[in-house]
Every structure is written in structure tokens, then in C-alpha cells.
Amino acid sequence: MVRPSGAAATMSNLSRNAECVLRILKTADSLTTSEILELAKQEQFADICTDCAGGDAFIAAANELVERGLISKKFGKGGYRWSIVRE
């Protein structure tokens, strides 16, 4: 189920799913969609990455972060790669 990723978020406050995606992306230069979803299931992210196994909620949250300019996505071989926008 996709929950509105911004439901609990304000401009200065991110939803849990968005925080989850951000925390995962901080661990690498860039990650594929599958890698993000696999990492979301790992113990180290268990406190924040709690949404359903299907992953659609995470992708909706990631797209919201793209719109807010916090992360970027690029489509190429193998699909999308997501990365944090560095200052």
C-alpha cells in the first residue's frame, strides 16, 4: 500500500519513509531501487524503515525527495540510480 509520503511531513519535517530513504542513501554514493528496498529490510534500518514489503511507499517517498531537491534519480542500465544531492 502506498501511503501519502508527505502525510506526516511538513516543509521542514520529513515522513518516516522519506527519512528511511535518506538514511539508506547516506550509506553509498548511489543505489538502485532494488538495493534501497533490500537495505530497508536490514536490521540497521529497522527502527525507521517499517512500511510494507512491496516498497511502493518508499518509492513514493523517494520521488517526493526528488521534488524537494534533496535527492536525484537517473535512469540508465539496470534502471534508476538514486543519490543524495551534495551541497
Binding site: T33, S34, C52, A53, G54, G55, I59, G79, Y80
Partner: protein, 415 residues
Amino acid sequence: MKLTDWKRVRDDFPALRRRINGKPVVYLDSACMALKPRQVIDAMNVYYEQYPACGGRSIHTFGKEVSEAYALAREKMARFINASRAEECIWTRNATEAINIVARSLKIPKGSKIVTTSLEHHSGSLPFVERAHRDGLRIEVVEARPDGTFDIEDWKAAIDSTTSLVSVVHSSNVTGTVVSLREIVEIAHDRGALVLSDDAQYAPHHPLDVQAFDVDFSALSVHKMCGPSGMGLLYGKLEHLESMDMFLTGGDTVADVRFEDGRIIPEYLPPPEKFEAGLQNYAGAIGAGAAADYLSSIGMKEIEKRERSLLSRALDALKNMNHVHILGTDDIRLRTGLVAFTIDTVGSAHDVATFLNDEYAVMVRSGAHCANPFHYQRGIPPSKGTARASFYLYNNEHDVDTFLEALRALIEASS
């Protein structure tokens, strides 16, 4: 022979007039939520603008009008599924709630068995898993074949004299496959079991005759059949509805509540009021009736034919596309108008849905579609998932071709 003007049908849907990033919308997610025609929106607006009052209680003019419209909507839905009487139709929020009513309220003997399948939507299995856990019942799962069809012998083996209920998805939201419902009902009834048919994906796309199928219960999601969101329907044979326990109780479910010797003693109404506690979604019910009218005016046989034609066009092309793997049977006669697939040049179906939406304004669903068990059975983890394109009466050949063009571009860019 009736000739439907499909262009005119398409024009009934205001959402299809939108353009996103300069591109016309290609909406292929009707298996999740169908778009709404002007006729349904107008019917609901008339309620809100002309008589937005309580039904079944207030005696003023608005109250009378909404009561009549509400009752008429139930009759329309009863006709739509060919129920023998309107009282057999209970308004719910969705098919999920309809199934939960059966799972919670049907009297099921302790130690008996409920039979379901690996292909169910979570809403078709979990209410019974929980009931079994609560009341010490057994659950037996009939496994679908990889293409989403079933071996009827497996049903014969699973349903025995200890089976109290069979919960079966009539048309799968993943493979689109349609089960042999008549045969399953016959086996179940022969062995003394009742049958609940999850018609959420079947009713919007095929003629549904609950009497001909002889099901004991049927669950529908009105929002998948051009009606408003937050509306569903439970059909039940009256004898079963009458003998079931209460689900939600409160206002509108009672004939009287006496107060005797310090005790509150309810006397409940018969179905359908028995299962419709509190103020109802009158606008939703009226919209549901309008949706039933709308689909009936076109004809469910016509709609079924139209969708099969669009599905054939899509399947023929997809089968010849490298890197695309289709779920579901090749036999188009056994399919509803949807196709789920994986593409091996991308790691996740979410990439397919994102690319199609961003680059082509083509809207498909991705994930496990609330059918995780079947995805695990097929060796597809939910995080990889499948992409699903679902067609409805407002789609056209151009939609299919745009979808295919977008997939070709995706495969080229990701290879």
C-alpha cells in the same frame, strides 16, 4: 448487433482530459481504482446539492428523498449482480470490509476447515487466517499453478466434509485469471461448504450473476467499477445473512432497544440494516447505483469484449518483446483485462512504473498488489514485484500503443 461508441464513452471521463507535462493521460491502473464518469459524479452532486440529509430516519422532504434514492441504489446494485432481492445486498466501504463481515460474523463450527488459495488478495485470505487463529479453525491453501490457473482436482482434494467455507478470488488482480467458479461451488455445496467469491476484479469487467454462480457470498469494490471510492458491497443469500452474528452494532441496526430491570436489551433489524450501523455513505450509495446504471447501459458483455480486444493487442506485442515476462495464462478467454509482468533489464517493477509515469504519463501499478503469497510462490520478492497494466472501458488502442512504446523505450534505455 449493438455497436458501442467507445470514443463517446471515453468522453464521459473528465480525468482523461488532463494533460501531464504536456502529455495526455494513459490510465492503466483501473484494477486499483477505476476512473469516474460524469454521470456518477453528477448523481453524487445532486445528493449534496439537493437533499444532503439522513436516510431512514428524518421524516422531512430531504429525508424522504435521500431514503428513496438510497433504496433505489440498492435495487440497482441487486439488478447489476442479479441478486434475487435487494435485501441480500449490504453496503460496505469496500470488498475488504465485505469479506471481513463474513469472516467475523459467519457461524463456523470449531475444528472445521476454511479453504482458500495462494492467489488471493490479502483481503481474501487474512480475515480468515485471523478467524482461524481466534477460533481454532484450520486453513487449507489450494496452490495456483504458475500461470494463475488451478487444477480442479486440487479443489476436490482440499474441500471435504469438514470444510465450512471456501474463499476464492473469482478473477485475480495479479494474473487476471478467472477461476472455474461454477465447478468449485458445485464441489463445495456437494460437501456442505459455503462459498465466498471475491468479485472485486470480476464484477467490473464481466457479467456477474450471483444466482447463476450459486455463490453464498460475493464481495465487490464499487470503486473498481466506476463508482465512488469508499464504497463496496456484500452480497449474501438471505438465509445466511439472517443467521450471521452482528458485525458493527449501533444506530440503524435496531428495531428497538428496551430497558428492563436495569438491562439494555436490543432487538436487531433483519438484513440489510442489520449490517449497516450508523449514518451511511448516502452519496456513495447513490453514486454506486449510478455506476451500475452506467455500466449496464453499455452492457457488461460489450465491456468484456472491449477489454479482451485491448488485452489481446497488448499481450500479442508483449509476448514478442525481449526481456518481458508475462504472468498469467495464454488463454485469453480465462483472463480479465489486465497483465502483470516483469522486465529483466531493471531490478524492480517500481522502476517500470516510475519511468512510464515520468516519461510518458502512462500510469501502471507496481509491487506485489497485496498478493504477496503468489509472488513468493513465483519466486518474485515483493520488493522486486511485478508491473501491472489494467484496461477498462475508457481505454483505447492508442493507450495500449503508448504503453508499448514506453516499454520499448524503457528496455532500450536500461539494457
